[in-house]
């Protein structure tokens, strides 16, 4: 079997399982908080629509004008109906994304010689968590609907740059083994945070701070479980598709 096929099959098996796990975790831990936050969302608050118009909150602390009627006024792009359809799209996205993150984890770990067992796999999972959740989340904490944010494109650029720099930094520390390169690795990891993530002009938000805090914790913990599970499962299944870890690749590490 070619390396490409082996990698894709390994990623499909691990990504499917970890993606289903993540979708289940999100259903209980993060989606309810998103739905709650949407009740604070001003109906005319820029480019964010789906299904039913948001009902205004009864929470006295929300100083949002009660104007939920604008939804039908302008033409909206398609979005899934609230309820099962919305859940199904979220689950589908999670499974596909589990596969995609698994492709990255498998590609990186195979370049380093291949994961030997599930325990080593969990270490790769922690690395994935650090790269894709922890590092970008420091500058751009998980946001709820209705929260203010800086320009979308600028945030996306910072997010991608941070992920790339953190991954490169970790690789330098883990696989180059010299002190100067490790120092460079740390510098790469720190650099995006010195540059700083794009921030909104004001952080004033109709979403209560404790709801946001709960969401940050929920997103971080669910992603941690996803990544550790993903790495562990890759470690469990890879030998079925790749055979024994090869010594050629191992010499890179």
């Amino acid at each position: 079997m070619s390396i490409f096929r082996s990698a894709v099959f390994t990623a499909a098996a691990a990504g499917l399982l970890a993606g289903i796990l993540l979708a289940a975790l999100q259903t209980y831990a993060t989606v309810p908080l998103i739905l709650k936050a949407e009740t604070f969302e001003n109906a005319d608050g820029g480019g964010h629509h789906h299904g039913a118009p948001e009902a205004a909150s009864t929470d006295a602390s929300a100083s949002v004008p009660v104007a939920a009627a604008s939804a039908g006024e302008e033409e909206e792009a398609w979005g899934p109906e609230d309820g099962f359809e919305r859940f199904a799209y979220t689950t589908g996205a999670n499974i596909i994304s589990g596969f995609a993150f698994a492709l990255l984890l498998v590609a990186a770990s195979e370049l380093a010689g291949g994961i030997r067992n599930w325990r080593q796999g969990t270490l790769w999972g922690f690395a994935g968590f650090a790269v894709f959740t922890l590092a970008p989340g420091l500058g751009l904490p998980p946001e709820l609907p209705a929260m203010p944010a800086a320009d979308l494109l600028a945030r996306q650029v910072w997010w991608i740059g941070t992920v790339a720099a953190t991954a490169a930094g970790l690789a330098l520390i883990a696989f180059r083994g010299t002190i100067p390169l490790s120092v460079l690795g740390v510098a790469l990891i720190v650099l995006p945070h010195i540059i700083g993530a794009p921030q909104p002009e004001s952080h004033e938000s109709p979403v209560p701070a404790d709801l946001h805090h709960q969401f940050v914790v929920a997103v971080t913990v669910t992603n941690l479980i996803f990544w550790v599970a993903l790495g562990g499962i890759v470690g469990l299944v890879r030998q079925r598709f790749f055979g024994q870890p090869d010594t050629l690749g191992a010499s890179i590490a």
């Binding site: 999100q26 480019g47 492709l103 590609a107 998980p142």
Partner: protein, 60 residues
């Protein structure tokens, strides 16, 4: 010495193809994540809305 060089060349070709294939695998992953998490198309945003928020991708 010469044998050593030959072995190295062989090894380099094999690992070159291996690295190229793994690079392709990574590229596929980046492409899919880019589409799911970063596409500006409204339809993709709406379909994956709760997913994007839950993954802490920049949204809206």
């Amino acid at each position: 010495m010469e044998m050593n060089t030959a072995t190295k060349t062989l090894g380099a070709t094999a690992s070159g193809s291996r690295a190229a294939q793994l690079g392709l695998v990574a590229l596929l992953g980046v492409f899919v994540i880019g589409f799911l998490g970063f596409s500006h198309m409204d339809v993709v945003h709406n379909a994956g809305h709760d997913y994007r928020h839950s993954m802490a991708f920049p949204c809206h």
